[in-house]
């Protein structure tokens, strides 16, 4: 939700930037929702506080589409969906969905820096 406050002043650039950020976040949430629906595996995702170990045995047990994303993030260390998509040669939106799925499964962590969301393995 965008709140028009005094701090925005009347600068349209600031307002537009805020709208863009909000749309980005909304888009990300929709991607997760689409991904969950696509695989109909809502029940499999148990959100946990403690990160799960993303070791090679776990990698082997993941479905093919998620394994590719997970291996890629292991190699990159700390990356955006766009950087992962460059490695896997799949669409950024697809990778964003898979990365968020891995976050839900507690294998990855996610942090925001400005407009960008970074994914990484908690060591």
């Amino acid at each position: 939700m965008i709140k028009m406050s005094k701090s925005f002043g009347k600068n349209p650039a600031v307002i537009l930037e805020k709208i863009r950020e909000s749309l980005d976040r909304l888009n990300e949430k929709m991607e997760i929702f689409i991904e969950l629906q696509k695989h109909e595996r809502k029940q499999d995702f148990i959100v946990q506080d403690l990160p799960e170990a993303l070791d090679v045995m776990t990698l082997l047990s993941l479905p093919d589409h998620l394994r590719k994303t997970a291996v890629s993030i292991c190699k990159l260390g700390h990356a955006t969906a766009e950087e992962v998509a460059e490695q896997t040669k799949r669409a950024r939106a697809v990778e964003s969905g898979y990365l968020n799925q891995l976050v839900l499964m507690s294998y990855l962590q996610k942090e925001r820096k400005g407009r960008k969301a970074y994914f990484y393995v908690e060591k």
Binding site: T58, V71, K75, G77, K123
Partner: protein
Amino acid sequence: MGRIIVIHSYKGGTGKTLLSVNLAAAYAKEGKRVCLLDLDFRAPSLQSIFRLGGSKYWLNDYLNGSCEIGKVLVDYTPECECNGNMYVGLANPATEALRDMSAKDRKWEMRALGRLLSLKNTVLNDMELDYLIYDTSPGLQYSSINAIVSADVVLVVSTIDRSDVEGTTRMVHELYDLFEKKTAILMNKVPCEFLSTQLERDSVIKRFESTHTLPVLKVIPCYCDVLRAGGSKIFVRDEPEHAFAKHVNDIALKIDSF
């Protein structure tokens, strides 16, 4: 950018270590910059071959996060009699270290994977190496699968033993394929009578390519000289005219175009 080559097998005793050492020596002889790492933490063997005393640190220490990789590597170039460079990183053969490595938990293995993956930057790129070769434990060991995940090319060494062939076939489908690795088979210790004519050699290659659904890079006969040497020789350096050394040189060329 250099390449990471992993030498793996389903069973022990297939000749992984001998092939790894000679492959590294073949590349170094060609003038390449190469580094050979012993990732067989269950049964380290490079120490017996190289008899190095130059480093106080082992690969175990690097994976434990107690030192950087530079402290582990020993420059073997002077003993290698080569035009390039050869570095070696050893696994700790002490019983206590073997016990310690077999008791690591999943979190540790996950961090070890991260440290292995980072070698692409710290060793291949920063040290400007052409090849990083990993000698691994047979089968589905953590350290071996970590190595496979970080590999550019996987060479699977198999004998004609039925259980070896069947196990290798399973690993192709349940391991290498899942990680989408560029993989090739090396058939080693094949009885000479199966390879006496070109027709027979082609037939052996065709048979195993069809079994594994992967290219067979080389079929190496079983040489009594190699067995007799008992790991005391690096054939590419000590007996470059030996047929085994020529097979290894050929493998090195084939990997480059693979």
